[in-house]
């Protein structure tokens, strides 16, 4: 147990959430079934809404830990075989989760995020080839260019872009859309020969965001301790024939079949009635993209 009472002596867990209206009927100010093991203090959107209290609710915290997804595989002893199986729920307030399990075999980390897999180009210099592509199988095509600008826009992929009205090729987005929408990957030579010159004599750059077809994609990073292995269960929506799993830059599952070749990955197969891909891995750090 984590002894938050000792670490933060002003805090405890009441038996009843409405204790002030319960009177003496509530005997306990120390209901540690609402407290949980320290390792189960995982982070997610929900955790931030629960603020720092989340880790103190055993039943709720254990559920949040389930959402994050680290378990010991059935039949395993001493955490020699971990089961990393996130529970991905379609809800606007649950788009990521991360957490750590300190097992007797070492520390496991999991960090997953849902959302549209997209590629974003922060700021590419002019007169080079820029490639936009979607992760995974070739069926995961670019469906839209949500932003493109050849000029002197400011901002970034994470913060969003702001066009500079004094230097912006007016047809930037339509040109990139023509080249890329419907393609798994596309290359554009970002120069004034393609976009025209919006501000002669000024050094320009190119920024763009491509949106991909599988918007319910899942990204999961996991660390598996030395001398152990793990089964990573990656849920997906849509047809199993279209799903692909990429680890790093290598496709490990596509066309409903395992694609050998990635270091550390020893197999991949459909599970849960064709709603998830299970990937068998050895120790190491992995970065999966499901699309």
């Amino acid at each position: 147990m984590c002894f938050y009472l000792l670490q933060e002596p002003a805090t405890t867990m009441n038996e009843l959430p409405d204790m002030s209206s319960e009177g003496p009927g509530m005997n306990s100010r120390n209901h540690h079934m609402y407290v949980l093991q320290e390792e189960a203090c995982s982070a997610s959107n929900i955790t931030s809404l629960f603020r720092l209290y989340t880790c103190r609710f055993a039943s709720v915290g254990a559920y949040l830990f389930d959402l994050m997804g680290i378990q010991q595989a059935p039949g395993s002893n001493g955490w020699q075989h971990a089961l990393i199986a996130p529970t991905v729920i379609s809800h606007p307030n649950l788009t990521y989760a991360s957490g750590t399990k300190v097992s007797v075999a070492g520390q496991l980390n999991v960090d997953w995020q849902v959302g549209s897999p997209f590629q974003c180009v922060n700021s590419a210099p002019e007169n080079i080839n820029v490639t936009l592509s979607c992760p995974g199988a070739t069926s995961n095509v670019i469906t839209n260019i949500s932003f493109a600008d050849f000029g002197t826009s400011s901002g970034s992929c994470s913060a969003g872009f702001v066009v500079d009205p004094t230097c912006s090729a007016a047809n930037s987005t339509s040109i990139v859309r023509s080249a890329c929408v419907g393609q798994h990957t596309c290359t554009i030579y970002v120069s004034d020969t393609v976009f025209g010159d919006p501000c002669y004599g000024t050094v320009k750059h190119f920024s763009a965001t491509a949106v991909c077809a599988q918007e319910d994609g899942l990204n999961l990073q996991a660390t598996v301790p030395a001398n152990t292995r793990a089964t990573v269960v990656l849920p997906f929506t849509g047809a199993s024939a279209r799903v692909s799993v990429t680890e790093g830059s290598t496709v490990v599952f596509a066309n409903s079949a395992y694609q050998p070749g990635d270091a550390g990955v020893t197999g991949a197969y459909l599970v849960n009635n064709g709603t998830a891909v299970a990937v068998e891995v050895g120790s190491g750090s992995y970065s999966f993209v499901v699309a």
Partner: protein
């Protein structure tokens, strides 16, 4: 579970559920140890108790567990689902009844105490109602965790504590 959170499920339901859950854990232990005779004997014992549990507490007409007043409906239905007591053909109906009680009857508020709190989230999520579980975790107003936090009900109160050791729930 106090008066402020509605009536509790019948005490006999909670006790029976806990006992059957104990048998389930004993079966798991015997399985791990390779004691197949114990596994077989306790599996048969458990099946008998589950039948008795359903005969006593399951209302097939309403797909709810508990007494006819519906007391502690969320706790009773959630525990029956999470602990695997619900007859296979009724799982979806009980899950729907649970989801309806949370989402509609109580407008996304959980109405459970220390017993149902353990099972509510997993019972909803395992049966396709994870979004309702997340809604109920985050709902504002009473009863709810936001209420708990916003009213500062997590501070130490200068009252004597009769119970400081509820480890049976861990």
């Amino acid at each position: 579970m106090g008066g402020g959170q509605g009536a509790k499920p019948p005490g006999s339901l909670v006790s029976a559920a806990a006992y059957i859950h104990d048998i389930s854990m004993a079966i798991d232990i015997a399985t791990a140890l390779g004691h197949s005779d114990d596994v077989n004997a306790w599996t048969a014992l458990r099946a008998g108790y589950v039948s008795g549990f359903n005969a006593a507490f399951f209302n097939a007409a309403s797909s709810n567990y508990g007494n006819s007043n519906g007391d502690g409906l969320q706790s009773a239905n959630a525990a029956a689902l999470a602990l695997g007591f619900v007859p296979t053909g009724s799982v979806a109906a009980v899950a729907n009844a649970l989801q309806n009680d949370v989402a509609n009857t109580h407008e996304n508020h959980w109405f459970v105490g220390i017993f149902g709190m353990k099972y509510l989230w997993r019972a909803l999520t395992a049966n396709g109602f994870g979004d309702t579980a997340i809604d109920a975790l985050l709902v504002e107003g009473y009863p709810g965790f936001q209420f708990w936090f916003n009213n500062d009900l997590v501070r130490l109160h200068p009252m004597c504590m009769y119970s400081t050791q509820y480890s049976m729930y861990d």
